[in-house]
């Protein structure tokens, strides 16, 4: 347990150092920078870029979770079953539509900045959450559902007290997947002037500076790994099977 804790601590510390004190890594990135060019991205503070990046992802994922889970709840009710194929195809379209195309289409409507990125991340994030929530809500143990009805719980109560808590680990797995995809995808938001860590990567690509690309990439990668890990822990804590001991 202690060793695993240490394994988590190392990337976390590395990430904090990279974001707060990037100069310390200059010697490490120097070989990748062009001759005489800057090694460390200093045009904007990496901390503020990171926060803005995470903020965008959090907002888009939150919205995607709310909409996707609500939709999954509705289509798993007897009255909503007819809408299941329709909502499935809508969500699938959201996933097949490339985020870049969404950005391109959204800019004329929403203008440059965070707006188009939020829309792209939101649409892209719906599918995993919706699919998982639907699976989670429609594969609950039949004897438990039968008992919940049989002892006189109302529909609402069954949903809140039995179905959602039991489906929660599966729903969270979908959220986790969606968040990690969004963390990576958010970088392209910088092409339409959203403030994300993509700015560092794009600056590197434009000036042929591999050091910048690496810097941005490593930070995004570390965020993804740590958040993925954190959500996995949360999932395990909420899983009913864990409560065997």
């Amino acid at each position: 347990m202690r060793r695993r804790g240490l394994l988590r601590l190392i990337p976390a510390l590395l990430l904090v150092a990279l974001v707060v004190w990037p100069q310390a890594f200059a010697p490490l990135f120097a070989p990748f920078a062009p001759e005489g060019g800057p090694v460390i991205y200093t045009r904007t503070s990496l901390l503020s870029l990171s926060l803005s990046h995470l903020g965008l992802v959090a907002l888009a994922s939150l919205a995607a979770t709310l909409i996707a889970v609500t939709a999954a709840v509705l289509v798993t009710r007897p009255a909503g079953a007819a809408f299941r194929p329709l909502s499935r195809s809508v969500v699938n379209i959201g996933q097949t539509f490339p985020p870049v195309a969404v950005l391109a289409l959204a800019v004329p409507v929403l203008g440059f900045g965070a707006g188009p990125t939020l829309v792209a991340l939101f649409l892209y994030g719906l599918l995993p959450i919706f699919e998982n929530a639907m699976t989670g809500l429609s594969t609950l143990p039949p004897s438990v559902m039968e008992a919940a009805r049989g002892i006189g719980m109302t529909r609402w109560r069954r949903l809140w007290v039995v179905e959602l808590p039991l489906a929660l680990p599966v729903i969270l797995a979908g959220v986790r997947l969606s968040v990690v995809i969004a963390l990576g995808t958010a970088t392209i938001g910088s092409t339409v002037a959203a403030r994300t860590l993509g700015e560092v990567i794009i600056a590197g690509l434009l000036t042929n500076n591999t050091a910048f690309v690496l810097q941005g990439g490593v930070i995004v990668g570390l965020f993804a790994v740590l958040i993925y890990d954190g959500l996995t822990l949360l999932e395990r804590r909420l899983s009913p099977d864990r409560k065997a001991g």
Binding site: E146, A147, G152, M153, R157, P165, L166, A244
Partner: protein, 320 residues
């Protein structure tokens, strides 16, 4: 008293339950026995309206169930099912307190009731209250399932193959527990099973179902001694009928003065036990005791005569 009046369920033109009527007296156990597809579970589920009857009526202490909102009706009727159906994310205490919580009992009263039931089922409250179902054995899970069904002192307890998932030894103990607790609380129980042995052992009366129809509705002794049809006789098991019958007759019925060698049997034991003891130890009679004091004996001769009495009436052909 529970009155079931001409209740019928039609699924796609098929009569799953066909005009079944019967009555269950307060404080008794009625067992519905049948093969799979006989409609026994559908009948049970129509009583708490998990299945809505096509026609007919069920009355709970004179009140028609169709007049109540289904979820309120179900809170008055305990429901225990095969595979227990406990909420895996709730503790034992929360599972047992589920219906009282729905009924809005105060917290302290719920906690008290939970402990009382755990005690009744021989589970130390301090040890089990906070556990999750996954941390219990199969037998314990089943007991918690029945405790949950009894928690709000329901007017009626419905049990659908409650012991189906248990191994034979645990099942026998669970049946004994149920019988004891039912006597103690005076509960009214309707139990569905495919196991005639279980029905005969537990039921004050046995309802045999076949193809959606109630084919016989009588006390266990009558079902065994005088099956109404070929089907019922098969359910009882032709070869086992004499033994089943003997198992329903207490020793006190054949008690005669006198002495016999060997270990005594308690008066509460049945003729099957006595026959067993005679055969196994080569005795012609067994001594009978009441509270440890000898009160007489039961002879092999008398047991044979008792079996023959019922067997002889059986010469009349069983209606097909």
């Amino acid at each position: 008293m529970i009155e079931i009046d001409e209740i019928t369920k039609i699924y796609q033109g098929q009569r799953a339950v066909d005009a079944v009527s019967t009555t269950i007296e307060t404080g008794t156990i009625a067992c519905i026995v049948g093969t799979s597809g006989s409609g026994k579970t559908t009948l049970l589920r129509m009583i708490n309206r998990l299945v809505e009857p096509t026609s007919g009526e069920v009355r709970l202490n004179g009140e028609a169930t169709s007049a109540m909102p289904p979820h309120l009706l179900r809170r008055r009727i305990g429901y225990a099912i095969q595979g227990h159906g406990l909420f895996p994310h709730h503790t034992v205490a929360r599972n047992i307190g589920a219906v009282p919580r729905l009924l809005g009992w105060p917290k302290a009263k719920i906690a008290e009731r939970v402990d009382e039931l755990l005690d009744l089922f021989g589970m130390e409250p301090s040890q089990f209250r906070a556990r999750y179902p996954a941390a219990l054995s199969g037998g314990q899970q089943q007991r918690v399932g029945v405790a949950r069904a009894l928690a709000s002192r329901p007017d009626l307890l419905l049990m659908d193959e409650p012991f189906g998932a248990l191994d034979p030894i645990i099942r026998a103990r669970a049946q004994e527990d149920l019988r004891r607790i039912q006597r103690q609380l005076g509960s009214t129980i309707l139990l569905v099973t495919h196991d005639m042995e279980e029905a005969i052992r537990l039921g004050d009366k046995v309802c045999v179902m076949d193809g959606g129809k109630l084919v016989q509705d009588a006390a266990p002794t009558r079902i065994v001694a005088d099956p109404a049809s070929r089907f019922v006789a098969e359910m009882v098991g032709d070869a086992e009928r004499p033994l089943r019958l003997l198992s329903l007759i207490p020793l006190s019925d054949l008690l005669e003065p006198g002495e016999a060698p060997g270990d005594p049997l308690d008066e509460g034991a049945n003729l099957r036990d006595a026959l067993s003891a005679c055969l196994w130890t080569g005795r012609e009679a067994v001594p009978v005791s009441r509270d440890g004091a000898p009160v007489g004996r039961v002879t092999l001769e008398a047991i044979r005569a008792a079996a023959l009495r019922h067997g002889a009436t059986d010469d009349a052909p069983v209606p097909a």
